[in-house]
Symmetry: C2
Subunit: 332 residues, 2 copies
């Protein structure tokens, strides 16, 4: 999978700004790739990008239209399909992060085939993945793990890539979820892979590399989330991490979607992740904690970071408020 | 899924007895369900069942033909397809544990539809599974876990079911792999489920039940197998086990398929499985070890069981040589 950029971000008739959070993530992390947005009547989201028609976007060099919002009711409205067909006709590919597949829309599938365009359904991994071997491979890898889902793992990995590249180090963000895939232009929606191939898919995603190159692997789920821990476990083994970063959000009341499950203790969470990661790399270690303190006042946030730092004996940063420089300082 | 019995076991042109191990497992555990075998010229396997034609099997009441051997080269030979079509024509369903699907054979798919017969591709779970909730549910559940794959987990769970039913207790074997599914007549090939739904599928497979009923859940993989640990993790959480049994084979030199990975230490293996299982049931405990000592002499086997028993402080049995009665004695 290699999604060509620049992108035109299609926002459809998004009900609110939150419905466009995937598109917002792309714009935040790859502003240079985002030529404009295309909004239909009634759209309540705005990425503060130029509003462009398909023809205008094409004239400015857009290569792919990203379906960057959820579709209401799980069906593609005729107004959406019309935009897709126009985009294909104008010479662009389409990429979607929705559960419904572009390839299941007969008119879109037929036109893309006729014109030789590509359709990317990034939530639906294509092709066969190998069974993981667990064999030692060169290159360094860092995996973001967390106390819960949706707790800053992608953000942390992307911030680390940015900081490392700024310092002239060799680094690649490796995407394991839909938003990350649009940001990287490639990747695997690891939670949609067949169970037997979770680790094998990650071995493919973060392959052997230069000894001084770091893959920054986007984490998924949590070993302490009873719905998704299998995904996390396979990701830990497939990534064969040298370094782990613990992601956490201190105001989270319970595990995402499960009011009856409290968040784990930080040190307990680190111990279990480390134990799992040691199976494929006995030398793996935690290097830092990455905390989203946006729910705290600046003073509370600083105090919380200091408390965690003392508790775990490693740097504790907030990627937004303090940056991740102190994590990169830990990487050899 | 509900595969109707009695079965006719189709052995095709199996290259040797090992190629028929799925069929052998069905015959061993459900002899009353197995009316006969159907072998093609060149078949080197023999289950010591009556050799029956499709017509003879039907006359004796067979309801399903089980494709109980691997197909050579991964394709269905015309001679196999002819038997399938005859079986459908005679009023029987078909069930296969192969990677290739029956539903992908056009003539078979068409005839089954025309005649209203069912095709079961047990390695390909059908339908949508829910995301796991981890909510506490009534009924008791025992999960067989192991130091490695293919180390006696299915055998142990089936032996426990047999012993419990003999004692008049309420118990159900819950199948998570192809052979187990034929033996139970239902189940889910858990390693073929999409990663996000591993735990949810197991919650469906082993649902709420009477307080004094035990589900005996077939384990898969091992938390210490870097290819498959994600499957095992999801299975542990989905099963919400009250009791765990550790399965092991003392002459195994390395993790299955991975010469560079040694087997874990027994107590280390128990600790990690227990930690994982406690997330969804803090009261879970190990009740016994189930050891396959067939690679040892009787004296060595006895000594090994005694050694393990002392090491872990729990009963250690060999289901074949000592039976599993002492495990059932532990179940409340």
């Amino acid at each position: 999978m290699d999604i060509k950029h620049p992108y035109l971000l299609f926002l459809g008739d998004a009900a609110d700004q939150l419905a466009a959070k995937t598109a917002q993530g792309i714009k935040d992390w790859r502003p240079d790739w985002c030529i404009g947005q295309l909004r239909l009547p009634g759209c309540k989201a705005d990425l503060k990008l130029p509003d462009l028609t398909i023809e205008e976007a094409r004239a400015k060099g857009a290569k792919t239209v990203i379906i960057g919002v959820a579709n209401r009711g799980g069906v593609f409205a005729p107004s959406w399909v019309a935009v897709m067909l126009d985009a294909l006709g104008a010479g662009m590919d389409l990429a979607s992060g929705l559960h419904n597949k572009l390839t299941d829309i007969p008119a879109v599938a037929a036109k893309s085939k006729e014109l030789g365009r590509q359709l990317f359904d990034v939530r639906h991994p294509k092709g066969d993945f190998p069974i993981a071997t667990g064999a030692k491979r060169p290159g360094k890898r860092l995996l973001a793990v967390g106390t819960d889902c949706s707790i800053g793992k992608m953000y942390t990995a992307l911030a680390l890539e940015k900081e490392m590249l700024k310092r002239g180090r060799k680094a690649s963000f490796r995407a394991t979820g839909q938003t990350g895939i649009f940001i990287a232009g490639s990747g695997v929606s690891i939670d949609a892979v067949v169970a037997d191939f979770i680790s094998g898919a990650v071995e493919t995603l973060a392959p052997a590399n230069d000894p001084d190159h770091w893959d920054l692997v986007e984490g998924q789920g949590s070993l302490f989330h009873p719905s998704y821990a299998g995904v996390t476990m396979g990701l830990i083994h497939g990534s064969q991490a040298d370094a782990l970063v613990l992601c956490h959000e201190p105001t989270r009341k319970h595990m995402r979607g499960l009011p009856h499950y409290p968040l784990p203790d930080l040190k307990d969470c680190m111990a279990l992740n480390l134990k799992a990661a040691q199976l494929v790399n006995p030398a793996v270690k935690f290097v830092a904690a990455s905390i989203n303190t946006s729910g705290l006042s600046p003073a509370e946030g600083d105090a919380y970071l200091a408390k965690v730092e003392k508790e775990i004996g490693l740097p504790a940063v907030d990627p937004v408020r303090t940056g991740v420089g102190r994590i990169v300082d830990q990487l050899w």
